[in-house]
Subunit: 250 residues, 2 copies
């Protein structure tokens, strides 16, 4: 299924940016009158007819809409320290998008070796993965933020988990058990994943004071990006694959 | 933790191949008498003392052994069609090894675009990932095999799942439900994952006749390598992270 992305929707029209327009009109040779499937990036699939086949600013008329298209029954915010090697973080963004994630926040911890990321590049990867995996919503890549600043400004509600390696700070249950026994698992879920050098004890304690429940991700020693994806998988498998999923809706 | 791999163990000695010897003696400058941690690739960690600091054929005396080191409470065989882009398959091998897998079998399906793989290269990636994630066992990369041939020679026991995309062939339950309701989930588990073009209907029917249970991996449309990793994650999260895991053993 061929999908386009509209950066703006309004007045019955969907607007493609120059890159999407070029791909639609030049590469795929669409002409006015062609049917197009366009996502708005916020969860809706728009069935459209191409109106203005401009190479740089194509416009399509919206014929019908499918809200919640390719959605998942939870809101997941992954706050993950950037990896030293950005390829690994980019890979995480792609895979998390395929499975289902709503926000990715690069948080910078005390032991983070990488303290800067290119959010625009990550956002492009998220858009491409959303189109590839047929999702109406594109995850938001937030600007990189210092962990303690982030803890200070997070809303109070929802489930909050922090995964780290050391057993020194506090006893931890499995993330799977925590998800399966949560009173309202479809509330917003925020999961913190540390850098290669793990969170500092002070950071873990600050997160616990901010309402984060310490969890473990099982017995394997996982790289940062694998730990982050395993957390996404645990939410996906516990809340979308297992209970809430109806195979007839595929 | 610094880990080496012994290609041969016997008579109280562990033998390093030329690559491991060079890394141990030249790069890390170990000398006779140094303590070394060596895995045998079959699940045992060997605490050793370097005896012969040869650049090409180092030998270490085994002091003590830890069988089942970094192991997991199941036997998992992933039979996954190679992806067009081998980077994606190599990535799967790395991540599956980190989580816990025992055999990876590149199976060639009717719709497979790639029909050849370099098993030696995949085996190196598996070894490197096993060392990185502190596992005594290195997953075996089997030679590539035609799917129908593979179905014909699989042992009859254990759990067998086939994951595919279409709803046309047969009703499917969630892989999570299938794992959680299995009578003996720690038996050998074999999971078949198709190529980009999915399995053919004939292949799915042949697998069902060979005892494979059709399963789905949830509502998201996943790439081949993401589907394969999601299957590994489902086993890891259901059988290692959730029930059998004792956090005190970390």
């Amino acid at each position: 299924m061929e999908l386009f992305y509209a950066y703006k929707v309004g007045g019955g029209y969907a607007y493609l940016d120059s890159e999407e327009s070029y791909h639609c009109v030049r590469v795929l040779r669409h002409i006015a009158g062609d049917s197009l499937n366009i996502i708005d990036g916020h969860g809706t699939l728009l069935h459209c007819t191409l109106k203005d086949a401009s190479l740089s600013a194509a416009v399509a008329t919206i014929v019908s809409e499918e809200p919640g298209w390719g959605g998942h029954p939870y809101y997941l915010r992954m706050a993950v320290c950037p990896t030293k090697n950005m390829d690994r973080y980019e890979w995480f963004v792609e895979k998390a998008t395929e499975l289902g994630v709503d926000e990715i926040v690069p948080v910078i911890g005390e032991h983070s070796e990488r303290r800067k990321v290119r959010e625009d590049r990550l956002q492009k990867i998220a858009l491409s993965a959303a189109k590839q995996s047929l999702k109406g919503a594109v995850p938001v890549i937030a600007p990189a933020v210092n962990l303690l600043d982030y803890l200070g400004r997070l809303p109070g509600n929802g489930l909050k988990f922090i995964a780290y390696c050391s057993d020194d700070v506090s006893p931890r249950g499995s993330i799977v058990d925590a998800l399966l026994t949560a009173a309202d698992p479809t509330a917003a879920i925020t999961i913190l994943i540390g850098p290669e050098g793990d969170f500092s004890q002070g950071e873990v304690q600050a997160a616990i004071r901010a309402g984060f429940e310490p969890v473990h991700l099982g017995p394997s020693r996982l790289r940062t990006e694998t730990a982050a994806l395993t957390a996404v998988e645990s939410v996906y498998l516990a809340l979308a694959c297992n209970n809430a999923y109806d195979s007839s809706s595929l």
